[in-house]
Amino acid sequence: MKRALSIVMLVVMFAVLVTACAPKPEPAAAPAPEATPAAAEQPAAEKKLKIAFAYQDLETEFWVAGHKAIVETLKAKGIEVIEFNANEDANKQLEQVNDAIAQKVDGIIIIPQDGESAVAIGEACNSAGIPFGVFNRPPSNKDAKALVAVADNVTISAKAMEHMALEARKVFEKTGKKVKPLVMVGDLGDPNAVGRYQGFKNVYEKNKDIFTEYIEVPTKWDSNTALANLKSAMAANKDVGLLFCGSDFLYPVIKSVLEPLGKWQKIGDPNHIIMGAVDGDMTAGKLMDEGYVDATAVQDLYYEAELILTGMLEAIEKGEKTPEKWMDDPGFALTQANMGEMKMRMWGNKLRQEKGEL
């Protein structure tokens, strides 16, 4: 009995398998004839669009705000959003996107775990003929056709760093001693981290006359790693005078390391370390107001969300299956010098205002 049952089961399984696999080329081809006439015959507004949004995780304030920006904008436009959280697993994200493809969504937007997986996922979307968009963290190469909205990390980091270099020069002129810079680098698999590091290095090279060799602290975009590495770096180098960090979300870590050393001081204090980071979140906004932080390289989150969504909807409307467009968010640097005019352009400060903090 058992044996018979198991044989039947296996036969059924196999049958399912074969029927599943046999018409494999179909699904890729099938949506095409359906989708194009649909788009052509009816105005897009009548058909409710479905867009999948797959993000790597919602660990930091930045990603939460980004997630909110996208989901709210989409919902406001009457578009159905299907969300996937990959919990920082690139393979899982690929499977989720495949599931979304199987559901025949109209577009897929991802925040990838890293640049490499964005390529593999993009290729899957391309071959299924579904428009593919990447938010904030660009693919590492152009093998996959994608809509990319990303901040110009090199430029905004350099802008913020330039202000910090000016401050450092003042210190150098006053004391005659070269300033020792420290840079906290993100996960170098993330092109954003590479870009921010590059922006720092560009300014550093131009101002070598006032800087000693810089100290590099890897963070892997992980608080625990950052904490351990920064602690040991600060212990070995007591004379750090400038700190540039790849992301605002690490400020609590930085504070917890510097405070016991007596180096968490406001601007003007002789022990103040010139400080700046990238993103522009609420913490950064607050710390700049309080005078602990000198400069923040700001990516315009809402603008980027708007960019990617406009691009995506345009592509869907035109019936493009593999749109390709690189959309830069120029961003800006908020410094203590331009606080007056630029402060409210930073998304972190906008959020603070919404919450009534400002």
Partner: protein, 361 residues
């Protein structure tokens, strides 16, 4: 027959019989999968679309292969937590061998830089045999780590949980160290085909990989002396030693086989993402052990089958797929997953209890 009561009553008892039969079947989990599948069809019709079934299948194979290895280790009353790090390190090394480009800014600090990995890629960059060599080396590493685990477990009588936990940390760290946490890209096009290609667009390569491993494992477990020894050592190591089973070698073999399966799984996973990733597979452990155990393999050794594990893996894949299909908010997904797994396990316990009672009768 005529005296047995009204037809409806008879039907009722037939239905009950069928229910009990299904519950007691060793393939109960298949019916559970079908239940999930069928009950979701009205809600999300996409679940039964060909594209989606295809998708379920392609997600199934890597998990299945890796879980087969776990099953063999569970049969000898062990556990292999290091499979995830075997996946990671073989992925990285395999990719390093066959990649055709490596960005110096990323890899300058890697210990492989210069002698193994250069700007023009790995040692076999561009060679047609690179894929085969890479897969061979990946398997070699997997088996090697498995032997390492087995050796410590057998020789020093260390608990498998600790040994494999340590090697999980050790080799995962090594994978990260080797690449400085970077992903290695630029893999040959043919390698990508292993992950997503298929023969004549009908039979995916990944399925062939999985079936080969599964048939190998099934023959091993059912038809060979070594296979029986695995069960013996798992169910009663003392008695096995008495009747002349080389328990040490059997244990080492089990872990080596688990390493082999993890390496094969790594080939498929790396090929799907077209990259060597030092963090590959890190979140898979739950699904791998879960697939084996829900299929019916005992955590206490001596019990397990390849077919059971196939259905256990199918369960996890269908569950993930179904949850992805349901447009749930992301935080609900994991909760729902947990609840369904608990229900499945509860049913499993229930049916074992019923079986035990009916046996007594």
């Amino acid at each position: 027959m005529f005296l047995k009561g009204s037809p409806t009553e008879r039907n009722k008892s037939d239905v009950k019989d069928l229910f009990v039969k299904v519950l007691l079947s060793e393939y109960f989990i298949v019916f559970f999968c079908l239940l999930i599948f069928v009950s979701l069809m009205p809600v999300t019709p996409h679940i039964a679309s060909r594209a989606n079934i295809n998708n379920i299948m392609s997600n199934l194979w890597p998990l299945f292969i890796i879980a087969i290895g776990q099953t063999v280790v569970l049969i000898v009353a062990g556990i292999d937590l290091s499979q995830t790090s075997i996946i990671a390190i073989t992925s990285v090394v395999g990719a390093a061998i066959m990649t055709s480009k490596a960005d110096p800014t990323l890899f300058e600090k890697s210990p492989l830089w210069g002698w193994f990995l250069t700007e023009s890629g790995g040692p076999l960059a561009g060679e047609p045999a690179a894929i085969y060599a890479a897969i061979f080396v990946m398997i070699l590493i997997g088996v090697g780590i498995g032997c390492f685990n087995g050796f410590f477990i057998h020789k020093f009588k260390m608990p498998p949980f600790m040994v494999t936990l340590v090697s999980q940390m050790l080799f995962s760290a090594l994978a990260i160290y080797l690449t400085k946490s970077e992903n290695i890209i630029g893999l040959p096009k043919n390698f990508k085909a292993i992950g997503s290609g298929s023969i004549m667009k009908i039979i995916p390569y990944s399925m062939i990989f999985a079936i080969v491993v599964a048939v190998l494992a099934a023959i091993l477990l059912n038809k060979t002396v070594l296979g029986k020894w695995l069960y013996l050592v798992g169910s009663n190591p003392k008695a096995s030693a008495v009747i002349g089973v080389p328990t040490g070698k059997v244990i080492i073999f089990a872990y080596a086989f688990s390493g082999f399966c993890a390496a094969m799984g790594s080939v498929l996973l790396s090929a799907r993402l077209i990259a060597g990733r030092p963090t590959l597979g890190q979140t898979m452990l739950m699904d791998v052990v879960g697939a084996a155990v829900i299929g019916g393999t005992s955590l206490f050794g001596g019990k397990g089958k390849v077919s059971w594990t196939l259905f256990g893996a199918l369960f996890f894949v269908i569950l993930a797929n179904a949850l992805n299909m349901m447009k749930l908010p992301f935080y609900v997904v994991d909760m729902a997953k947990g609840i369904v797994i608990i229900i499945a396990v509860a049913f499993d316990v229930l049916r074992i209890e019923i079986k035990r009672r009916t046996n007594v009768m």
